[in-house]
């Protein structure tokens, strides 16, 4: 068979091209320190990966699923863990999305990171190459163990990228926080893996489980998802993660880090459908997060934080759909969201690059200075808001449809409300940043160079049209889907989106400083969840550790010292007997000899 028609070969290229680039950047410091060549190498790797991924879509369409695995660990000469590549509709489509978004972000970064010194520039692209490898390893995983490995490596690279500006204490703090929060949740993944292995002797995606085990394992896996996909109450790392460079936020929020959580559930759907309890919990947590995060997005002053909370909220949609048992709805929304959220973040990056500020108050009237950025941002925002005809509309509609009638329409209603809020806060960003009068800081803004606007245009296309490929995607992953515009859900959803947009224009079109939700602002400032975690960390973890540290030094080790001390003191008590005079010892020897002799005679 021609290698280019071999799905495994193509998948291997998509996996190995980025790690090849990353390894070269690690072992060739002189390339990395030059900056620009490093970017070239990284992008070359991503282009190769994307080409392979796109080709793989067609090959998979023709040839169907393929699996390749080698023994990674064995015990008593029997393999217990495998690593390899698994190509099916889900992984091949996700792979293409991941590679496309990653490539766009990398190309965008070439100009965006231009002011970075060459060493930092090279380091940045080395991280990116490694990131793509980790994500692809996760997406192509043939079993849960490799998925876990990829998952953790994605977490690692997110940590490195969020902390890219490590000289800034806030960035350092945010990176560590992101790692801790996800690592805390990943304990769930690890426990789930262990339980799964004990129950089935393997780490297969499609294992058959007892009902109790199924609920236990899936709940544990879901815990990891809550951390990774920033669901309430582990969402607190996500807004802080905005400390990273803006293209990084685009990457993390669109198709990779946070999307990994949702993708895991999609992938492990055969396990999740065996656990109705878990699905119910997912549904409620997803719906709650969708509303909660949308509320917080209403009051953010930082353009990136609006988008960050919006991601949280949209992930809530996906989780809710998955909880409703509609894996395809969640997956579809994941795909469309990847495009328009990457677009929004990159466009925001372009704006931040131009006005040198994240603050919405510093922006205004940018449409005059940056028409292309404005156009693409508007497309992304409308798609996110769910304006009929754009990509976001179809997938969001499908998510909402999956909830129809569940639990007395309550989750459905929550998501509908959240749809309204989504349109409202996106309208707010549009009004404040792009329309209205030109702000002081925006006076010197100018349109981004082609290397930055190019990726925006590339991403704008699927943000508009991706919705029409729903049935193709459904066919690839083995489901069925038909777009429809008429019906209760699509009509209400469209109405919500339009109402939200109009309402925000009505409010912010007239008064930039309007405050619509004072209570939420108060909540945001109080950041109660954040503080609770902070308290848990300082009081519980560090508190216990300082107590134990003291006990170890002064009680446990103190006991050892006490033993030594007692020995020395006991020695001191009897040392008087040792006069150091030879004659005394001699007398003792003679007396001893006499004693022995006498004892001998007596016996």
């Amino acid at each position: 068979m021609n290698a280019l028609n071999d799905p495994i070969f193509l998948a291997a290229v998509a996996l190995l091209a980025p790690i090849g680039a990353a390894l070269l950047l690690v072992v060739l410091p002189f390339v990395r320190h030059r900056g620009a060549p490093a970017a070239g190498l990284c992008i070359f790797g991503s282009v190769l990966a994307l080409a392979a991924a796109v080709k793989l879509l067609f090959v998979h369409h023709e040839l169907g699923d393929a699996r390749f695995a080698v023994t990674w660990i064995s015990a008593v000469s029997k393999p217990i863990a495998e690593i390899g590549l698994f190509v099916d509709g889900t992984s091949s489509s996700m792979l293409a999305v991941v590679c496309l978004v990653a490539l766009c972000v990398q190309v965008f970064s070439v100009a965006y990171m231009h002011d970075e010194p060459p060493r930092g520039y090279g380091r940045y692209f080395a991280y990116h190459a490694f990131f793509l490898f980790s994500m692809n390893a996760f997406v192509l995983a043939p079993n849960l163990l490799q998925a876990f490995a990829g998952w953790e490596l994605v977490g690692l690279t997110s940590y490195l990228l969020i902390g890219f500006y490590f000289a800034k204490p806030s960035a350092a703090k945010a990176a560590v926080k992101a790692f801790w929060m996800t690592k805390l949740a990943d304990m769930g993944f690890l426990f789930g893996l262990l339980w799964l292995f004990v129950a089935t002797g393997g780490f297969e995606w499609t294992a058959k489980l007892d009902p109790t085990v199924a609920v236990g394992v899936t709940l544990l896996l879901f815990l990891a998802v809550v951390g990774k996909s920033a669901q309430f109450p582990l969402h607190i790392w996500l807004p802080d993660a905005m400390e990273g460079p803006t293209p990084v936020s685009a990457l993390l929020h669109a198709a990779t880090m946070v999307a990994a959580g949702v993708f895991l559930i999609v992938r492990a759907d055969p396990l999740f459908v065996q656990a109705a309890t878990t699905q119910t919990i997912m549904l409620w947590i997803g719906a709650f997060t969708a509303v909660f995060a949308a509320c917080l997005a209403l009051v953010q002053r930082d353009i990136k934080k609006v988008l960050a909370y919006s991601t949280c909220s949209q992930l809530g949609y996906m989780v809710a759909a998955l909880g409703a048992g509609s894996a395809f709805a969640g997956y579809f929304h994941l795909g469309t969201h990847a495009f328009f959220k990457a677009l929004l973040f990159l466009a925001a990056g372009s704006v931040i690059h131009a006005v040198h500020s994240n603050d919405l108050a510093d922006m205004g009237g940018l449409r005059k200075k940056m028409p292309l950025t404005t156009l693409t941002f508007v497309i992304g925002a409308l798609s996110l808001a769910g304006i009929p005809g754009l990509a976001g509309f179809f997938s969001k509609d499908l998510v909402l449809a999956s909830l129809e009638g569940r639990f007395g329409w309550v989750p459905w209603g929550m998501l509908m409300f959240s749809a309204f809020l989504t349109a409202f806060y996106m309208g707010r960003v549009l009004c404040l940043a792009f329309f209205g009068n030109l702000s002081h800081k925006a006076e010197h803004a100018h349109e981004a160079p082609l290397s930055m606007s190019g990726p925006l245009i590339v991403l704008a296309v699927p943000s508009v049209v991706a919705g029409f490929f729903g049935s193709t995607l459904a066919h690839a992953v083995g489901g069925h889907y038909e777009a429809h515009f008429v019906g209760l859900t699509p009509i209400v959803a469209s109405a919500m989106a339009l109402a939200g947009l109009l309402a925000s224009i009505a409010v912010y079109g007239r008064n930039r400083d309007a405050r619509v939700a004072g209570a939420i602002e108060g909540l945001d400032r109080a950041s109660a969840v954040d503080r609770l975690w902070e308290l848990g960390y300082r009081r519980a973890l560090l508190g216990v550790s300082s107590v134990l540290g003291w006990i170890d030094r002064y009680v446990i080790d103190g006991l050892m010292n006490f033993t030594g001390y007692t020995t020395i003191e006991a020695g001191a008590a009897v040392r008087g007997a040792q006069t150091g005079r030879m004659r005394h010892y001699l007398v003792a020897v003679v007396l001893g000899a006499v004693l022995v002799a006498v004892m001998g005679l007596v016996a």
């Binding site: 490995a149 204490p169 560590v176 690592k183 292995f197 550790s545 134990l548 030094r553 002064y554 001390y565």
Partner: protein
Amino acid sequence: MNHWLSLIVAAPAVAAALLLVLKNEQKLAIRLVSLVGATVSLVGSLVVAAQYDRALGGFQMLESFPLVPSYGIHLKLAVDGWGVALLLLTGIIIVTGVLASWSVPKRDKEFFLLLLVLVAGVFGVFVAQDLFVFFLFYEIAVLPMYLLIGIWGASHDVKAAGPFKYVWKRFAVGGKEYAAMKLTLMLLVGSAAVLVGMLILWNGSGARTFDMQVLENATFSRTAQMWAFPLFWLGFGSLAGVFPFHTWSPDGHASAPTAVSMLHAGVLMKLGAFGVMRIGMVLVPDAAEVWAPLVGTVAVINVLYGAFCAASQTDLKYIVAYSSVSHMGVVMLGAATLTPNGWNGAVYQMVAHGIMTGLFFALVGLVYERAHTRAIAKMGGFAHPMPAVAAFFTLACLSSLGLPGTAGFVAEFLVFVGAAQSEHWWWTIPGVLGAFVTAVYVLRACKSIFWGPAPKGEYAHLQDAQRTEWAAPLVLGSALVLFGFWPRFLLDSIDGASATFLSRVVTVASAPDMETNK
């Protein structure tokens, strides 16, 4: 019959003897002789790893010379699957350790001499197939530490407090002499226990021999086993840092010079765990099974307690030292599971932790030599002047917290799988929690040392790694990644040995009429 094993053991010893004829002023010659001695051992270990027949398994490359035949003592060397992995670990650590101590400040000759003697002992333990010789090498490995810490070590203040405050008037807690003395005394008490256990076996087997293979096939009375196992566990365990006999480790490792910390935490603590498994569990399997619940429970205390203690430290070396206590707990946990996965994980963790902690101590030494402080609160932004050190330190941190793609993950994962499969599945909970706490303290340390604004004042001109200092980060760092991505290189041989030993423990221990046969 080839002589690779005797070569591995003898090379450092011969190099040490050669050092005796050199003068203290011949600094370069001293270092080169030591480096050659260490390298020969490393090459030997690589050859052994390559030549060891994984399909065949068992003991290979047997060499035997009678030593005191009337007491059944033979200098008998052979290597099994565990030995292959641990020899390689020791070889890597000693070569990088010698290179990392290139700038030892005083009494160079004696320093390298003791280092080489020590490592000859370590190599000997891993290949000895005779209890007496095993013990001999064990002591050779443990004793030089006293001088190495006492002479070349560093002191620090420990404030007098707590219920045992009055001991401060007798000795300066925190001083290097104190650390050296505490370490030596605690380990020697352990040795004494081991010696008693050995004599119980020698007497109980009826064969009056120290030959381990003969002892493996001997059946010991239940009483003898029940006495021997705890002696081995606590005796060897004191070197493996088993709670509560771990307290020599933080002070000892914090006081010791760089290469000595590398060797001690990287290799010597493994001797303890190796002893518990190879002598304790394999030779007295009946008792091992009875005691295993306690061993495992103490091990999870180690894991969690060590991690929490590490999180409370402000001195960089103490953090790393306590992390060793925690990670050695993982080794003991794997051993206590008495499952193939747990045992593979335990031995793999010895290798992974050895390399990881060697890397840690090498880097900490490097930072200390430049910044002259180990208080992490005083550091900050060191990644600006020393990016390579920062990168490798991060790598060590990642292996420490068990990130996939590093050796630490494979080891910890296998241990946890073993624990989940054992009767005491709950051991995984503190185990995994310990890994999380590890993530907290290593990343916090990493952040406060290397991240933040570029340092000013006295730390503005810190240098990155220079010449020989590159050896330890490069070799150990790549080993961590290599063993993380391709575990089968070592795991296949480890697995062979674990399976053989374990089949003995399980079959003997589960034979139902064991008691009635006597």
